[in-house]
Symmetry: C2
Subunit: 348 residues, 2 copies
DNA sequence: TTTTCCTACGAAAACGTTTTCGACAAAGCT
DNA sequence: AGCTTTGTCGAAAACGTTTTCGTAGGAAAA
């Protein structure tokens, strides 16, 4: 009973385990005739190699770890999908783990993956992550690491990202083109490279257009959720009623802000234009629909896996691996939260 | 170099591998003194058991498979989160796989998991799944299966579900209480037990309230996405303009339908009241907000894992395992898509 | 004929654990 | 003293592969 083993095939054919093993992998030092015989017998007996034994012998698990801040999240769940699909195609298994944006749990998750002996790690680091010693440790164990989306410049590894500065610049530029004169920004955590770059893009667009940049127009979000969008919107209304446009770090916060503005009777886009980030599905169905920056998530997952895979295969062949940084394109999606004002300008 | 092994600890302490192994697991036949010595040395040398060897020896992987129709999906991603969290607490690893609601890929995924030698499988079957031989096969290999949410009555295993009949009944009852007289239903695939039960609940509510049940008021959705919601809404408008309430199988379809109704200038809830299903986040932020049925997803994932875990531990102890069916509570969330009409009735 | 060279196969080690079974001493009991 | 019990430890087998190294025998070359 149980799984058929090489042993059993060997016995049934009067061959040795060695020959059977080699035959199944089409070694050149076994005759074509026996290769056929063995493969037939294997199919007949429904032979499946014992993963545990193979792993132990080859010292690799065909398993990679995927570490992300949140699972229930449109962007990251799309990444998961991309990674898993690509992994499955190549016979790899993915262990998905979540950090809840917390540094300590991130360290624990990495430790867990090392314990489980994955072949490599794909990670989008937590916003709270400040140092990356836990990743250096991974690398010191000779495991390849590929970072995507939420990266740290301090780690020397392959990366798959978007150009957040450019995206932030274009989002802000769009608001300027719509005629906004006093543009605020809801930014993310200070430690997040995404937030930093989008903020820099925002600043650059303002300065290039001759609009004054005012630090008091920048609002900080930490948790980046719906409620924080509402809170910051309230704060903005208390501070400065002359703001006529906002570039918001992420769609979820933008939707929170829009909900608050609507509740206070402020008209979007007539009084305030809003640009979000991420092109979440919900941004297309809320009223008014939200202008936003589309960023690839599914393909980012696919590409991230494939760069990791290529590092893995190169290592196996003892080839030199060159770290590469892939930058994926973003695109602005114009919708109602800015459209009206643009029309208004054109008619002038 | 590389990982420290039992061998190395044994050597450094002048003990045998056997004793070291036993000491680390605190066997009773090794003295307290050496246990301490060994554990110290293990910590000092940063010993981590080699998973591959342990797996091979114990013939278990501490890994389970999680098979779901879609990853990028509010409900299922929450389930994933629940499962993974609970698994991590218990030292288990989760392999997440997606079927895209397709029967053939479901079979392939199951095969993949068998190949990878998981200890058990958690599954929400695809809508297109008609027979469950692939699951019988899993069970015949002595692997426990637990189904959740999307189940098949033909499989004898533990299940974690909601009472879809009751939920469908209450959704429809709510529409009736709001004064709707001609209530339509957007149902899901014929092969999905969820859809069947919600449909039955809808029918039951109508009949109990003395409203006529009309099969032509039932619209079939297959893919259950936004676009289908729009299409069915269009179809409904062409067929029958006297419908004043709809119970829609899932929020995403409901949002599609609402978008179409709004585009056609039909007022919600004044002309048509709508109840969705699932309490997706977006249903709370669209205009008007959507009345819906809240169903537990995160806890469903947690409970599903734990019932699987208990089956696994019982099997290891050679205890008899009793299949159980856990039914989790649902709750109706009343929002604007039905609220107004209710108020109107009260004022009469 | 002898030597060399392939071809096709197998023995055995290794991967690192866990567990069974014994061994041996010391201690406890008639 | 003889016997059993108890407390510690280790040898060895086993899990199922993969790979290194041999070897037997026949064919080709000398």
């Amino acid at each position: 009973m149980g799984r058929t083993t090489l042993q059993q095939i060997a016995l049934s054919l009067n061959l040795s385990v060695t020959t059977v093993s080699k035959a199944l992998r089409s070694y050149p030092d076994v005759s074509e005739k026996t290769i056929q015989k063995v493969k037939e017998a294997a199919k007949l007996l429904n032979y499946k190699p014992n993963t545990f034994a193979v792993n132990l012998r080859t010292q690799e698990s065909k398993t990679i770890g995927l570490v992300i801040p949140e699972i229930v999240h449109q962007f990251f769940s799309s990444v998961i999908k991309g990674v898993i699909e690509e992994a499955e195609k190549n016979g790899y298994v993915v262990i998905v783990l979540q950090t809840s944006q917390d540094f300590e749990t991130e360290k624990k998750r990495i430790e867990f993956l090392i314990d489980k002996q994955v072949d490599g790690i794909l990670i989008a680091i937590a916003d709270q992550t400040v140092d990356c010693f836990h990743l250096y440790e991974v690398q010191s164990m000779d495991l390849p690491v590929v970072m995507f989306d939420k990266i740290s410049k301090s780690v020397s590894c392959s990366k798959v990202i978007i150009d957040d500065i450019k995206a932030g610049y274009e989002a802000t530029k769009h608001l300027i083109d719509c005629g906004c004169k006093n543009i605020a920004h809801f930014r993310g955590p200070l430690t997040s490279q995404n937030s930093i770059d989008r903020y820099l893009g925002y600043k650059k667009a303002l300065e290039e257009s001759g609009l004054k940049f005012d630090e008091s127009n920048v609002y900080h979000c930490i948790k980046m959720n719906f409620e924080e969008g509402q809170e910051q919107a309230q704060k903005l209304l208390q501070n400065n009623r002359s703001v006529d446009g906002i570039f918001i770090n992420t769609d979820m916060v933008a939707v929170g802000a829009m909900t608050e503005f609507k509740a206070q009777g402020i008209k979007i886009p007539e009084e305030i234009s809003i640009v979000g980030f991420g092109n979440w599905f919900l941004s297309s169905v809320i009223t008014p629909s939200l202008t936003t920056i589309d960023q690839p998530s599914y393909t980012m997952g696919k590409i991230a896996f494939n760069t990791l895979l290529s590092e893995l295969t190169k290592r196996k062949k003892n080839e030199h691996v060159e770290h590469e940084t892939v930058i994926l394109p973003t695109e602005i999606i114009e919708r109602e939260s800015t459209l009206a004002r643009k029309k208004f300008n054109i008619s002038l």
